[in-house]
Symmetry: D2
Subunit: 233 residues, 4 copies
């Protein structure tokens, strides 16, 4: 019997890797989509039941091509975790039109295209999970996040609209709001004075994504925070 | 070795019973606090590792007395789930001062008193979970919920204030917002035309409470919904 | 012809006085309700078309008695501004049950009782304004506002429930969220290093209350902030 | 002495016309920017102190060209009201990538470009108002508004980010959330059974925009609703 399939879009040493590890550990075949495959191919080998695909999540055609290949290689996906989504920092005077558009394409358009590619099969089976990885900026337009926050809040609202439409069809659309700084080597370098308790552990984020994908459908959650206990909020 | 202790305040055939079953199944000794013990004593016998206590959650002294007895009987609580919290329905012209005050005492004052009784020991150990069971009215002041919604939103805000203060001490304060009608015999009688998919299953609520109590502290959630997939929201 | 009547509950040298001045200037007879009348009687004399009433807003009977007297003295009120609403500061471990209850009685129960006394006549005429003066804590449960924030958010939700019920009857229920520190002698003393731009001017709050009372009913606002331009939010 | 200048982007028989009339009546020279000038030129003649400019708000270059011309013709703008912002309806399965992108360009990118063109002069003077006209979808991702709501909520968050950055410089960025159906001939045709009380009157929206532009800066509002008293919310 074929294992269930989980697609993670946006693979790096933080949440992406943790998500891949967790779903693999739980018995899923995992498709790893990321712009370059330098990291993801090593990760796929390490995990075992996983495969890396090159795919720029800001490019609709690239997403569609990669997801079609996933379907041929691993089967129809049961879970999509959309983890792509960086964005330029800067206030309204500092960011450019290209910053706004790039952030929007990566956080919103890519998420839309990926979801759209998987919805028909999920509807047919009456089940599936589509999980977006959000950020503090999903809820709040900080002065220094003019480009990033508009994109993240658009993503949150797209997820909300999708949830209202797709939940009744058995598809669990949900959002994890990471309200903190993910523990990555580059975060530690950038913030050398912060204690370990300051950071969000990717394994914790992956645990929430896993839990959301398993929730009983009479008591689904749409939006859950992933916030370190020591965070000031 | 003594099992960990979970206190559930507000015991009935819905969430209260499901919470008790779940935490018991996971190895906890469970204290069942409710106004009358008719139901809770039968439940305690059925579950095994549980004990019923009579306690009106709107009465601060009663809560304190009962929790002191729990401590002597079962040990220091690790988890508190505050599930008490009904309220009169009616718009601002229909409800009375007593309705407002009664709802407030049950949803806010009782929660405060119960939490206060357990915080010192939790702080000392640097761990513990305090979980409030909220409702749609925790977020929204509907026209017909003038007395209930003011109390539920006060409870949510109290929980938020507590979370900001207690998370850094290792105590996970969280809120489950039940956005739907819990599946109870009396709900079915009141809404005979609704399909099963319309209702929130208490087991789903209990699963979320359990999950919150186990979350890794670098990625805690404060507020999670429990909403049926078929709900209109 | 008798002038329209505005009742302001909660009179001090900040918002209360500014509200009284503004509505008086716009042609209203103004009733000034406050616990002690030392300040309000001088204010009434200064303003002219105003009268002071002693009334503890945490005491339902006192409010009813005072409002009945207002009706006899000045006529049926057209506008109610509920400005009472202090609260003790402190986190969940520092505040007492009495702090929670006192804050709730002043911010919620008093507002309910005052509104209830005026609603029947407003409904009869199909017009009227009921304006609550909120605070940052109306929206957010800060760690240090355990008693105050639960009361303020309950007040906001009560206002929301009232708005949903009373707007269709022509009664404009609204909330002004003061997101900053009101400029008062005691604020300046407490924060001697803050520049003038840090503070909310009571005249600005009064201008918003006045504007809300005059809004065209096809485009009513429920919640408006009063936040200094230099505020960090 | 030259009159102050107000730029309204997005001119039609509803809010656009009402905004133009109101600011003109208050002594402003009004620049009317819209894709086609059929309506706006007649409006400009009717109003008197106004001028029409052709400008597709989804095209950054077009906005910049038009605003440069406004500056030459009328002087430096004091107020910008960004009223452009329609969007395709449909759920996530019905809308297209082009619908998402079109809505985003019109509601977000155009607003960004217009604001950016005016910010430097406003900063120099330490005053100015930038007002966005939002919608119910600014706050809520309805199932049938997959393309529109992501754009409107991105616009709201961009406005919030701008407000946090620009308020301290004396520029009042604000958002009017129209929570209802604007009274237009085509709305009446589409909803023939609705009474007049169902609709938002454009004059009410214009009154709120005017009021926001005049608010005292110690008590600014960021977000205000324009909602008909008879609206169900």
């Amino acid at each position: 019997m074929k294992p269930p399939v989980c697609v993670v879009i946006g693979i790096g040493p933080g949440n992406g890797a943790a998500l891949a590890h967790r779903f693999s550990k739980e018995g899923y075949a995992v498709a790893l989509l990321s712009r370059s495959t330098g990291f993801s191919e090593k990760l796929a080998q390490e995990i075992g039941n996983a495969r890396a695909y090159a795919c720029d999540a800001g490019q609709p055609d690239a997403i569609c091509t990669a997801l079609a290949q996933v379907e041929r290689d691993l089967g129809t996906p049961d879970v999509l975790v959309y983890n792509a989504g960086s964005g330029a920092w800067g206030n309204v005077e500092e960011v450019t039109e290209a910053d706004l558009e790039g952030a929007w394409r990566l956080n919103v358009l890519g998420a839309f295209v990926a979801a759209r590619a998987l919805i028909p099969a999920m509807k047919k089976r009456g089940s599936g999970s589509i999980i977006f990885i959000g950020a503090t900026a999903s809820r709040r337009g900080g002065a220094g996040a003019a480009a990033f926050a508009q994109a993240k809040s658009a993503q949150r609202t797209l997820a909300e609209s999708m949830a209202r439409h797709l939940w009744p069809a058995g598809i669990h659309v949900a959002l994890i709001v990471i309200d903190g700084v993910v523990d990555l080597p580059r975060s530690r370098t950038r913030m050398p004075d912060k204690p370990a308790s300051f950071f969000v552990q990717p394994d914790g984020v992956a645990a929430s994504a896993w839990w959301l994908s398993q929730q009983e459908r009479s008591a689904w959650s749409f939006e859950v925070e992933a916030r370190p206990f020591a965070e000031k909020w």
